[in-house]
Amino acid sequence: MRILPFEYAVRNLGRSPARLLLTVGGSALVVLLVLTATGFVNGMQAAFVTSGRDANIILMGSGSEESIERSEVSMRTSGIVAASVPGLIKRAGIDAVSPEAHVAIPIKGIGEEGTMSVIRGVEPAAFLVHDEVRVIAGRPPRSGGNELLLGRLVARGMGFNPPEQSLGTKLEIDEEPYEVVGVLEAGGGVAEGELWTSLTDLMATSQRDSISCVVVSIDDAEPADIEAFAATRLDLELIAMPEVDYYAKLSAFFRPIALMVLVTAALIAIGAVLGGLNTTYAAFASRVREIGTLQTLGYSRQAIALSLVQESLLAAAIGTLIACGLGAWLLDEVVVQFSMGAFGLRIDATVIAWGLGTGLVLGVIGAILPAWRCLRLPIAESLKAGE
């Protein structure tokens, strides 16, 4: 099949600068919207995916599988676990057994409206169990000092960029002053949206007499060993759940929200495409006679259709590249504070691929249907068009 020169498609773009601007701008907006929505969902899901370690098992109150914040576990549980279950990770004499309190509570900067956040009360063993967590500025909190370790995204969400600038900030938890002494990062995991403090300080502030869970890291032990422990110690009312499973459940919990975001973006994108189709259709329809002439010269319908699609793809591609560039530059790691946590929009290769794919679909659909309409006409009729 002999095809029309590519230059023909390029030059046709310049026929109507206004229409080109509309098409490029429209494509850019739609792709940017798709990037934002998929980046939001990607960031939300990624936070959960990176949050669980295979070796970690959570022991929590039975019936609390959906929400650690709800769980209540006796304080003595961590000691009993360490003594009863062999095969746990041990470093320098310290067992990888982390008693933790997860409390959802409003945090206030002095004199400001509180933001609902999750505070995790921990002991030093937590850094052994959650070894993806690193202190990137300052130091871990000490017991008795009302000190806080801020998650990187929490600091950014509070306006500190770089997050290290948050060191020394005073915050209020239940009208008790706390000071930020460090910033943590956790490879994109949920902990980056949390605040960590000493377990005893948090229990005193929140007037708790029980902890939320005990997280253990297994070495030679099997998950089944921990489950057996929970099953035999009925007095402790525990269930054992692999950490990855807990975060998978949490991820599934947010799926309806993710779906809502994607459906809204899809609706807007489809509406924009429909509007664009009308304009493209009109643009091609005004060239029906030209299309008939090209067929008279001997160009096949397929060759002409290909040229029209090239034209549309070019315009859409320009808009798409602009949007992908803007998206990667402006949207990546934008902090979203949502539902007792914070996560960053994640514009990675997958999201960019979605953006490019959207642009491709826009370009092809934007031309295929109008082109088919115009090429459907018998040549003799198309030559009479405009008479």
């Binding site: 030059r11 046709n12 030209e290 067929q295 010269l297 040549i379 003799a380």
Partner: protein, 231 residues
């Protein structure tokens, strides 16, 4: 006696418009020898444009046979027709139908891109065609920068650049003033006499028929009169 270049036997074209059947060509029998300059005349709806379109292969008959040269045009598929057109037919329109985003040179070059010839050969043929019609000084101009007569010259150059056997003209001077029309008709006559091209021209204007050597009158899809010009 040699075989006619164009042979129509019982050539029929019928359309359906809603519930009505329209037959612009009704069992037309017609022979045209190679190298003739034929003017097709007739009132509106007589079938002359339909006949032109069938000769060009941009429409297909619903009955009868049409042979152009050795080719049974009536039986070719859409794809084959396109290829045949590219090699054998040059079409000149009343409204020129140049591609607005291509300049004059590129418009003339367009049909050659369908052929497997080198760039140099393409350039040679385009230059020859533009010279033949007298438009070489405007080769970089875009259609919007040309007068009506100049546009038609470019369209004629485009039609002859593939050196087709058959030139078909649909009211080629319909949109031109008298002086320009005369120069275009002179050009067509020169192509016919000097280069031996067979030309079939549809016209409403009796003045243009004096350049033709054969006059055909169609009415209601049938050949009414066949006149040979007296030189």
């Amino acid at each position: 006696m040699s075989t006619p270049f164009i042979q129509c036997r019982d050539l029929t074209r019928t359309y359906t418009r809603g519930t009505e059947r329209i037959t612009p060509l009704d069992k037309l029998d017609l022979d045209i020898d190679r190298g003739r300059f034929v003017a097709l005349m007739g009132p509106s709806g007589s079938g002359k444009t339909t006949l032109l379109n069938l000769l060009a292969g941009i429409d297909s008959p619903t009955g009868g046979e049409l042979h152009v040269g050795d080719t049974p045009v009536h039986s070719l598929s859409r794809g084959r027709l396109a290829a045949w057109r590219a090699d054998h037919v040059g079409y000149i329109f009343q409204l020129y139908n140049l591609v607005p985003v291509l300049n004059a040179y590129e418009n003339v070059e367009l049909p050659l891109l369908l052929q497997s010839i080198s760039r140099q050969e393409r350039h040679r043929r385009v230059s020859n065609a533009m010279e033949a019609v007298g438009i070489t000084d405007r080769h970089k101009h875009y259609p919007r920068q040309l007068s009506g007569g100049q546009e038609q010259r470019v369209a004629i150059a485009r039609a002859i650049v593939t050196e087709p056997d058959l030139l078909l003209c649909d009211e080629p001077t319909g949109d031109l003033d008298r002086e320009t029309a005369t120069s275009i008709m002179n050009l067509l006559q020169r192509l016919n006499r000097d280069e031996g091209r067979t030309i079939v021209m549809v016209t409403h204007d009796p003045a243009t028929t004096r350049w033709a050597d054969t006059l055909l009158h169609l009415e209601k899809g049938r050949l009414l009169e066949h006149e040979e010009a007296t030189t």
